[in-house]
């Protein structure tokens, strides 16, 4: 599998404060990668660089030609960022304006569970519904890659779980690779095939943890708990003064199954 999107040796500074140092990551087709780190570690900045919204950095951004046209990378932000003056359907088809493909919009609204709400205005939607519309809008351009910037952090826990399942579902159905930025350990491991941990000042990639579990996954699965523990340890260590050099990055050895609901790939 060749990478669809590759970030190479990214260095980024705001004014004189170095935020990211020598961060590299790649995203292959159909893969879900979680980017985990404490707040302010620059993980959102990294995503913005990948989305093309931040051009002021050092390093390389390699894109598959399929991703270079407008809408080739679907982005969902922390907030829905819907245009309040457009209806739900117009928001979903925003990329094409008036020439939007109505039946595709309809299909996407059905996919995110908002069939028949196309004529509603954003002000009539709940936070979770608005985020569903944002997900549909991101999928409208038939992207190969979805870039998600803490997309579920502003909704309640129950809605969050439903939205997480929705995204995994849609990503699989439309064969979209996902780069998910989050500070939520549960979310990162439940959704991702690989979790990258960002930490330290300036931030580097501290570790990569593989999540060798088939889908659909069980949130209660003991293996997830174990991985969460590993990540937590890593996050605490990376705050320490010594820091951890990037060569400590390693894949987690396959775990023993402690719960028969979880199956290794």
């Amino acid at each position: 599998m060749s990478a669809l999107l590759k970030l190479q040796n990214i260095h980024k500074a705001f004014a004189d404060v170095r935020v990211l140092e020598d961060v590299s990551l790649s995203l292959a087709a159909g893969e879900v990668v979680g980017l985990l780190g404490p707040s302010g570690c620059g993980k959102s900045t990294l995503l913005r660089i990948a989305a093309g919204l931040d051009q002021d950095y050092h390093g390389g951004l390699q894109l598959d030609p399929l991703l270079t046209f407008a809408g080739g990378r679907g982005v969902v932000f922390q907030e829905p960022r819907l245009m309040p003056w457009l209806s739900v359907a117009q928001n979903v088809g925003f990329a094409d304006g008036r020439g939007a493909d109505g039946s595709w919009v309809e299909q996407l609204l059905r996919d995110v569970g908002l069939q028949g709400r196309g004529a509603a205005l954003p002000k009539h939607l709940s936070g979770g519904q608005a985020q569903r519309v944002a997900i549909a809008r991101a999928l409208y351009g038939k992207p190969q890659v979805l870039l998600l910037d803490e997309p579920f952090s502003a909704v309640d826990a129950f809605t969050r779980m439903k939205l997480q399942d929705l995204v995994v579902d849609l990503a699989a159905r439309y064969e979209v690779a996902v780069l998910l930025v989050t500070h939520d350990l549960d979310e990162a491991f439940y959704l991702s095939d690989r979790v990258l941990i960002l930490g330290g000042t300036p931030s580097r990639l501290q570790r990569e943890l593989a999540v060798p579990l088939v889908r659909p996954r069980d949130r209660r699965c003991a293996e997830l708990a174990h991985l969460r523990g590993e990540a937590l340890t890593e996050l605490f260590q990376s705050k320490g003064p010594a820091g951890i050099s990037s060569d400590s990055t390693g894949l987690l050895s396959p775990l023993q199954l402690s719960d028969d609901r979880c199956l290794t790939k």
Partner: protein
């Protein structure tokens, strides 16, 4: 007042179909009372009729004007001037305001000049406009356009500067051209401010219309005002004032109805504690 309010609310409850109309009637109570009071005072001789004509007298004057066709002549002249001036001023403000709103460079070059021009009371332009453009229609329309320009320009600029950066970013994500960005994100997002500016500009347009017509005109409501003063006919002056009030209110209501329609999407505080 509260007793009257109660009566109206009771009637509104009994006749649910009439409810919106009846509650709207509340605004008529004060002016009607004042008119009745005035009529009584003038008829009973408390107020001298040659200075303060009775409302019925003013109504008669208006009827006379309408009968002779004079009314329409004055109204159409004033309406034409206001619509031309307002449209020209607002369109120019729309174009220049968007340009300055978008470009920091344009702002650096143009803003100080506009601020200085704005500081000149617009009526100070009148003599100059008369010198340059004669006493034709042109100076009147230019003056009104000048008055309409600044409210729209300032409101639009403030509106564009207040737009959520996050929405603009969505536009960048979809690779919108600058023109598409203006049309699809900036102008719609600045629309609430723009309407405030347009309504302010419209009321200023009427004000400058009167100023222009008072000074040099042979037709129009402003002319009617000065004619009434010169021929010592307060009924004519008051009739013209009423017509101005009516037109001003009517044009503002039209704009407001358009605003309400265009801004249906807005999710903002609409004022509380009404109920009735």
């Amino acid at each position: 007042m509260s007793a009257l309010n109660l009566v109206i609310v009771r009637w509104a409850e009994r006749l649910p179909g009439w409810r919106p109309m009846l509650t709207d009637l509340r605004g008529w109570v004060v002016p009607l009372l004042l008119l009745a009071l005035l009529e009584t005072f003038v008829r009973s001789g408390v107020l001298p009729a040659h200075q303060m004509p009775a409302p019925s007298q003013v109504a008669q004057t208006l009827y006379g004007l309408a009968q002779s066709g004079e009314l329409w002549r004055h109204l159409s002249a004033s309406l034409a001037r206001v619509s031309a001036g307002f449209t020209i001023g607002a369109v120019l403000a729309l174009v220049i305001g968007t340009w300055v709103g978008l470009s920091r460079r344009a702002e650096a070059y143009l803003e100080p000049t506009f601020q200085a021009l704005r500081a000149i009371p617009s009526l100070a332009w009148v003599p100059l406009l008369l010198l340059w453009l004669g006493i034709d229609e042109t100076p009147k329309i230019v003056l009104i356009a000048l008055g309409a320009f600044f409210p729209v320009y300032l409101a639009l600029l403030a509106g564009i500067r207040n737009i959520d950066r996050k929405l603009v970013e969505v536009g960048r994500l979809y690779g919108l051209s600058p023109l598409a960005l203006v049309r699809r994100i900036l102008l719609p997002a600045a629309l609430p401010n723009l309407f405030t500016g347009l309504r302010g500009a419209l009321s200023l347009s009427w004000m400058f219309l009167v100023a222009a017509e008072l000074i040099a005109a042979t037709r129009g409501l402003g002319y009617l005002l000065s004619d009434g003063r010169e021929t010592s006919r307060p009924d004519l002056v008051i009739a013209a004032i009423l017509l101005l009030a009516l037109l001003g209110k009517l044009s503002d209501s039209l704009l407001k109805a358009w605003e309400t329609r265009a801004l249906r999407w807005r999710d903002s505080y609409q004022g509380g504690e009404d109920g009735a």
